[in-house]
């Protein structure tokens, strides 16, 4: 373990222990800044809002409307294997 107490005599040990305590706060600060980058970015979007609407509509159409039509193939691992074997053996 790093020397994280007041008895640390070597100045570099003291520096490391300070960094050790500070690291979580620095990490939290970075995460907070990253979150605010996204939050402010989304809040100030103009054209981006339209684009996100397009993305949302597209995903809705794909997953809610078209996916049920697509989802007709074999679903289980056994069914998939059985299909492949039957095709390979021309059955």
């Amino acid at each position: 373990m790093l020397a994280i107490n007041s008895k640390a005599t070597d100045p570099s040990d003291a520096k490391i222990s300070k960094l050790f305590y500070k690291a979580p706060y620095m990490l939290l600060k970075q995460i907070k800044e990253a979150c605010s980058l996204y939050a402010d970015g989304f809040a100030s979007m103009t054209l981006g809002r339209t684009l996100w609407k397009v993305v949302a509509i597209k995903l809705f159409v794909l997953f809610a409307l078209i996916w049920p039509f697509l989802h007709t193939g074999p679903k289980t691992v056994e069914a998939k294997e059985a299909l492949a074997v039957s095709k390979l053996l021309d059955k």
Partner: protein, 509 residues
């Protein structure tokens, strides 16, 4: 069954071709934007920043509209091509999974910094983010093209008869396959050309309108340098791609040139019209009209002016004097492999280990030609020659046009005032769609040229397809056509609106 295969093929072709309307612009415009931002960071000139932001907006529109269109193809593997997914999923899935992870983490992380971080992070970190988005987009393409390269030239795997799957035995053989490498380089450089034409054409429109003249002129210089380099690079990568095709998919090369009878020192058709009455079985002339560059096909395919290029007839019926085996013998061996596989499965089901081992021995002798066991007659292995021939020649012709266009644009914009040449600007504007056409034509050559194989020599499409109702595939075909066409219209409308706003000097981000 034919209806199901044809509709499944049509649906996959539709999805892939629409998806590839969005991809090339992402691949190239991301780099163009990164170059422009580098100019901004180097000079500190705010005009470069405005220029970067404008093209970045168009990049963002294309990215947002195009995102997830590729996902549909991955759905289709599981639904329409379930047998394919099972038989080769172990190999094909790995590059696709890496692509998903890379695309998500690299692009999503730095994409946000690129768009939201202008005043939040340092100039250099922002520039780094823009470059990482460009690199991330292109790395995504790498993995997709590795997967596609494997379909053209399957390596690094072994067939497991117990699971009926091809399993990856050498990851590096798959990703460093010469076909995958040349396909990646050729495809991305095609995307760079398309993006350069896009920037050049829109900049030409600004100059025709007399708007944003400084930005348009600078953009033209950046696009024509990038476009010219990419056009020259595409020649080199195209040469390598043709060399790989000659070695690994000779039937595709023969179809690309409409070459029915092989020749020593074969020429390339520069301009020609195919005789559609020509088949491998008759003696009709292959062309109604053709202008040929002598020996060039031998040079392109084998890097030897006098090399023999086999034609469709030799590849189908064989030519002993040339050491070319006909397809009939491969079909025979393929059938033996199929019978041995059936024997093995039966012995395993009956728990007869001795018989299973015997069957396995026979299977291993013939397994390389298993795919041929599903081919009914040799001529079924001839791809649609007309479609491949015309697509190939269209792509090559457009490639030559792009070199000329970018060269002239660069010279004119550096030596004189390009704004005075309105006819030339109109040509540049109308060249935008040509990049897309060349890309699509290239895909037609690559994919139609290897039919009827889903995996070259290993798995024909008839075995790869799912056993589903063809009417379901038809319904989704039309639904996808509607969805994609709507997305394309949305993309064009949103982009043209933003371009018009820029011309009016309005804010657009």
């Amino acid at each position: 069954m034919e209806t199901l295969i044809d509709w499944s093929r049509a649906q996959f072709a539709l999805t892939a071709m629409y998806h590839f309307l969005f991809v090339p612009l992402t691949l190239g415009l991301s780099f163009l934007v990164a170059f422009m931002e580098t100019l901004y960071v180097k000079t500190g000139d705010e005009k470069y920043k405005a220029m970067t932001k404008f093209w970045m907006t168009l990049f963002g529109i294309n990215f947002a509209i195009g995102v997830a269109t590729g996902l549909i193809m991955e759905f289709e593997f599981g639904t329409n091509w379930a047998a394919y997914s099972w038989i080769v999923g172990d190999i094909f899935g790995a590059p696709l999974a890496i692509e998903g992870i890379l695309a998500f983490f690299l692009e999503a992380t730095f994409f946000a910094v690129m768009f939201f971080g202008w005043d939040r992070v340092s100039k250099k970190f922002h520039l780094l983010s823009t470059w990482l988005v460009a690199i991330g987009s292109n790395l995504s393409a790498l993995w997709i093209l590795v997967a596609n390269g494997w379909m053209q030239y399957p390596v690094g795997m072994s067939f497991n008869p117990d699971t009926a799957r091809n399993e990856m035995v050498n990851f590096w053989d798959v990703i460093l396959s010469p076909v995958a490498v040349s396909k990646f380089l050729h495809t991305v450089s095609g995307g760079y050309i398309t993006s350069s034409l896009f920037v050049l054409g829109i900049s030409a429109w600004f100059l025709l309108k007399g708007k944003e003249v400084w930005m348009a002129k600078k953009s033209i210089i950046v696009a024509s340098i990038f476009g010219l380099l990419a056009s020259l690079f595409v020649v080199a990568t195209g040469d390598e791609a043709a060399y790989q095709v000659a070695g690994k998919q000779p039937m595709k090369l023969a179809a690309m040139e409409g070459l029915y009878k092989g020749e020593d020192g074969a020429g390339i058709v520069m301009i020609g019209v195919l005789n559609h009455a020509k088949t491998a079985e008759n003696n009709e002339e292959p062309y109604l009209f053709e202008v040929t560059a002598p020996k060039m096909l031998s040079l392109l395919g084998y890097h030897d002016l006098n090399a023999f290029v086999p034609g469709i007839k030799e590849l189908i019926y064989g030519d002993e004097s040339r050491g070319i085996e006909g397809v009939a013998a491969k079909i025979e061996r393929g059938k033996k492999a199929k019978e041995a596989l059936a024997w093995y499965k039966k012995a395993k089901a009956e728990k007869n280990e001795v018989a299973a081992q015997e069957a396995l021995k026979v299977f291993r002798i013939y397994e390389k030609e298993l795919g041929y066991g599903y081919v009914e007659k040799p001529t079924n292995l001839i791809p649609p020659v007309g479609l491949v021939f015309y697509s190939f020649h269209l792509m090559v012709g457009l490639g030559i046009w792009f070199i000329a266009l970018f060269s002239v644009t660069l010279i004119v914009s550096l030596k004189s005032d390009i704004t005075n040449n309105r006819a030339f600007l109109k040509v540049a504007l109308w060249s935008i769609p040509l990049g897309y056409i060349a890309n699509e034509a290239g895909w037609v050559v690559a994919e139609v040229g290897r039919q009827p194989w889903a995996i070259q020599g290993l798995l024909p499409v008839g075995v790869a397809v799912s056993n589903i109702d063809s009417s379901m595939v038809q319904v989704t075909f039309w639904l996808f056509l509607l969805l994609f066409t709507t997305l394309l219209i949305a993309e064009i409308r949103i982009m043209t609106t933003q371009i018009s706003l820029k011309a009016k000097g309005e804010s657009h981000v």
